[in-house]
Assembly symmetry: C2
Homo-oligomer: 588 residues x 2
């Protein structure tokens, strides 16, 4: 199983993993904590907290939730992940695409922001947590391998466009309705006359400021000779600076009252309250598709991020334990008034660049956010929603990658088709439906491909024992023998294709008396294919042609013996190699 | 495409197929009809008609329809198939499993036997016909390859049990409710006290008589020295003899009035009336799953039967043209008051044994049934329903094959699991759901299998250029090189499995400097796998190990070049053969 063993990303870096530390990974770093790591972890934790504060609120807004829910989701889940996770760098919390999936999954069932909505979101977090936990405990993370690269790439790009479109209402200052991407754009365009220009100005300035911090400031700071850590600190502080800037202006000019700029408003102070959403069977059923989509997307991203960062530090992550830790984090979100969380790419990179070595960095981040919740929530009263929208737009901007389909097209046409289907399905049918259609399409295209295997008639290369495709090489052939290589395992979906192809080849070679089927690329033969082969032996005999097998692999041969196929074809018609078959047929 | 070309079943028997006869296959036999074939076709047509008369009525009863609908379905469809089909032996008409699918699909929407029910059945026939026609016209018959042998075997056995259970109510003479197999058995057992013993006696005697005709009579007749054709004629007449016998007794003793024996009753005389069921979009949507299941099951069976029989006569069938002919036959059923039809196995074998050479035999059968409809329907007034039930039970009896799962288990464990899942799903969840679950399970098991490919570390066999699995052969290996053969194409579902496996192998060989990945069984590499390989190159380099490729096939290599992978790994690390790789690494 792909994820059944703790595999070091760097093969030489394998550690001895004892029983206790297997199940409670924090014992690995907490019991042997090196004082030298303390400053790095402290700084990384604080830098991440500074980035996470505005982002958590912005993503909560995207998920249709009050801003404090985003902050709640950044305390308990982080602590649980720090204790149970195997990555010292992964920063868990609200992320853009999960927030969008929450919104699209729950807004169909309840009015966003209502008590019922929040209850359903908490139930969703519990379901997501339970699924991840169970996948981890039963070592079934391998299921997530069925989300292919083109599906994930298309899903991410299309979701980012949907997220950006969804923020238009905060930037423009009027209500935009519609679920689908095109509906949102259409309604946004229709209402342009009602634009609140002050709100728009604040939003656009925030975007410009954030982009400057992100793209323009780093080279300037580097040219000024600042240490890399200081650069990371300043650049990561961008969202917070923008938030403070927007809040100050709004407060000073009273823009909320004088210009109708929508602000965050009162955030109840205090740590994440305990919550028990009391799920019913009906709620669970209604939320299951959204939960499945969240698990699929968030786990694939989290584990990819954790793996990449761990390998750069020559550390190991254990995918199954990661699932358990992410599961616990989400259950924590459900029990402490949060919403589904996952390991975010941007945030984890900041955590990594700021020097995080162990889970202590995440504990520091959680502590920082807890402090905000306890003492500083009034500071955000005048924070314009447009600033949060700007934060989201800039964050997802980098996720839209429209060069990728070109690369995929070059490498593999059918993967490019998968990309296109997923991208279109997400934009036209919605993100949940889109991801499932993408996964389904990639599986069907794979089946379609294997149902029409490449079949080559081969001949002898010079005087060698090597037999190659007659269409690609100058090879020797014989009129009474045709040797055919099938480049696929034989199974129900391609067995009739094979039968027809072989009969056609025989029909095209009127003098042929022997057909040699070369099995070097046949990794298994299922019972449907066995039935077809048995029928084929007879059909060929009726036509005066004998079927032979050559280069059958050990495990495949074992299966043929068990099914008594060897007696049916006759053991003398099975040859170790193609060359041996040719020798026994008097060709060489 | 599997079915895109007219492939002769016997490769040497290919005929020249011209434009006209390609689309109107009857021109092949009708324009050049050989007088010598006439007696055979006439006898075969009549024998089949004799068998078809009671069977059509029995299957109509199974489908929840009045008996004449079964007869209607045996006129127009047979004529259309005779004109458009490419098999001279396939006998089209109502069959057991299709009838059951009709009942289970339509009885959920309307009361069986009601006008609405009959209307929906006609719409269903039109939908089935259109689907088959379109699959044939667009040469998409290959889709039907996705129904594997174990799925079909399990579906057939389980359906036969359901059909037999469904006939209990006619044998026992009381109403048995319930949709599922176990419900029917349970309710039948509960009502045993109400059994109509006269009805039961008629039913059981009919079963005994039919079994005697089928099993016992043939050897006796053969021993008496009768000609094979006469034997076939007498044995095929069994259902009709049983019907006449049961009808006579019931009429003579007035069992319908005096003992409450349920009889067929009045059948309106006259040929199949024209019908136009006026389908609505809603009807079509509601019937689509049933139609899909009928298409899936009936086409697979029809084409298999046609192919087998044609190959015995050294004739050819064209699967796509078969789909068109079956489609036309079903549309004919919808327009002439019938219900979905297909090529039946038992009936076609009788047609074949009685000597059918061309489609004329089917025309004769249709004519015989038309005569019955025109003049002889009053004969069936006193026909007990229990006799028809006996006909059905004996017909499906041979379909239950409980030895097959054992054979499948021996040949292939995962196919046996598919058999078990399909069998259980059909019995527990119903036949439509069962077939779809079976197809889904077989596809998932295939994906599961390919997601965990066989990976072998190989070494050199003696002084040869052959490299084999170190676990199966005594081979030479080297400490600084590991050669690994992956027995599967690399695609998204197995790419992480491969990555982990390779990293584990490297971790187990601490001295290794070079990892050679052998691609002889790799038939393609998708873009997810390319991403993983690129990451792997870097991960291995970090660990001081160089990745090499060997024996990459032509088409795969083309893809690697297009994706610029060759530059990333370095062209010097790609070798033509494993032996060449070993030579360049200084091993040999």
């Amino acid at each position: 199983m792909a994820t059944s063993q703790p595999i070091p990303s760097s093969p030489r870096a394998r550690e001895t993993v004892t029983g206790l530390s297997r199940y409670l990974p924090f014992t690995r770093w907490l019991l042997h904590y090196r004082r030298a790591d303390l400053p790095s972890d402290l700084v990384a934790g604080l830098v991440t907290a500074i980035m996470l504060i505005p982002q958590s609120m912005a993503y909560a807004q995207l998920a249709g939730l009050p801003p404090q829910v985003g902050l709640y989701a950044s305390v308990a889940p982080l602590i649980l992940y720090a204790l149970l996770g195997t990555s010292g760098q992964l920063s868990v919390g609200p992320v853009a695409i999960t927030s969008l999936l929450v919104f699209s999954g729950v807004s169909a069932l309840a009015e966003p922001g209502s008590a019922r909505y929040i209850q359903l979101v908490l139930i969703l977090a519990l379901i997501v947590g339970m699924i991840k936990l169970l996948l981890g405990v039963f070592r079934l993370g391998v299921i997530l391998n069925f989300i292919s690269h083109p599906v994930l790439a298309a899903f991410t790009s299309a979701s980012a466009l949907i997220i950006a479109a969804g923020q238009l209402k905060y930037l423009l200052g009027y209500k935009v309705t519609g679920d689908r991407f095109y509906e949102v754009l259409y309604h946004a365009a229709q209402g342009l006359g009602q634009t609140n220009l002050i709100t728009l100005s604040i939003g656009v300035s925030s975007i410009v400021l954030l982009l400057f911090f992100r793209k323009g400031l780093r080279p300037i700071l580097q040219r000024l000779g600042l240490r890399p850590l200081a650069v990371t600190l300043i650049v990561s502080g961008a969202p917070l600076v923008t938030v403070l800037f927007g809040t100050l202006i709004t407060w000073l000019l009273r823009l909320d009252q004088r210009a109708g700029v929508a602000v965050v408003g009162a955030i109840p102070p205090g740590l994440s309250p305990l919550s028990w959403p009391a799920p019913t069977i009906g709620d669970v059923q209604a939320l299951l598709p959204a939960a499945a989509a969240i698990v699929l997307v968030s786990v694939v991203e989290s584990i990819a991020v954790a793996k990449t960062l761990a390998s750069k530090r020559r550390q190991a992550i254990d995918p199954d334990q990661e699932l358990i830790a992410l599961g616990a984090a989400n259950i924590g979100a459900g029990l402490f008034s949060g919403y589904p969380v996952t390991g975010g790419f941007a945030r984890s990179v900041v955590n990594f660049q700021a020097g995080a070595v162990t889970g202590l960095a995440s504990l520091v981040t959680a502590g920082g956010i807890a402090l905000i919740l306890l003492f500083f929530t009034p500071l955000f009263y005048y924070l314009p929603q447009a600033v949060l929208a700007a934060t989201v737009i800039v964050a997802v901007f980098g996720l839209v990658d429209l060069k990728e389909p070109g690369h995929i097209w070059q490498a593999n046409r059918s993967d490019a088709i998968t990309w296109g289907i997923t991208f279109a399905a997400v934009l036209l049918l919605g993100i949940e439906m889109g991801i499932f259609i993408g996964v389904g399409a990639s599986l069907l295209l794979y089946l379609w491909r294997t149902s029409r295997p490449h079949i080559a008639v081969v001949g002898r290369l010079g005087e060698s024992e090597v037999y190659r495709n007659i269409l690609r090489y100058e090879v020797q052939t014989w009129p009474h023998v045709v040797a055919v290589r099938v480049d696929e395992s034989l199974y129900f979906a391609n067995t009739r294709y094979l039968e027809n192809a072989l009969l056609r080849i025989v029909a095209e070679h009127p003098e042929v008396k022997h057909l040699v089927l070369i099995g070097s690329a046949i990794n298994f033969i299922d019972s449907s294919a066995l039935h077809t082969l048995e029928a084929l032996i007879q059909e060929l005999r009726d036509a005066g042609v004998q079927l032979h097998l050559a280069e059958i692999k050990g495990p495949v041969m074992d299966g043929l013996k068990r099914a008594h196929f060897v007696e049916k074809i006759g053991p003398e018609h099975i040859h170790l190699t193609t060359h041996a078959a040719m020798r026994s047929l008097g060709c060489v």
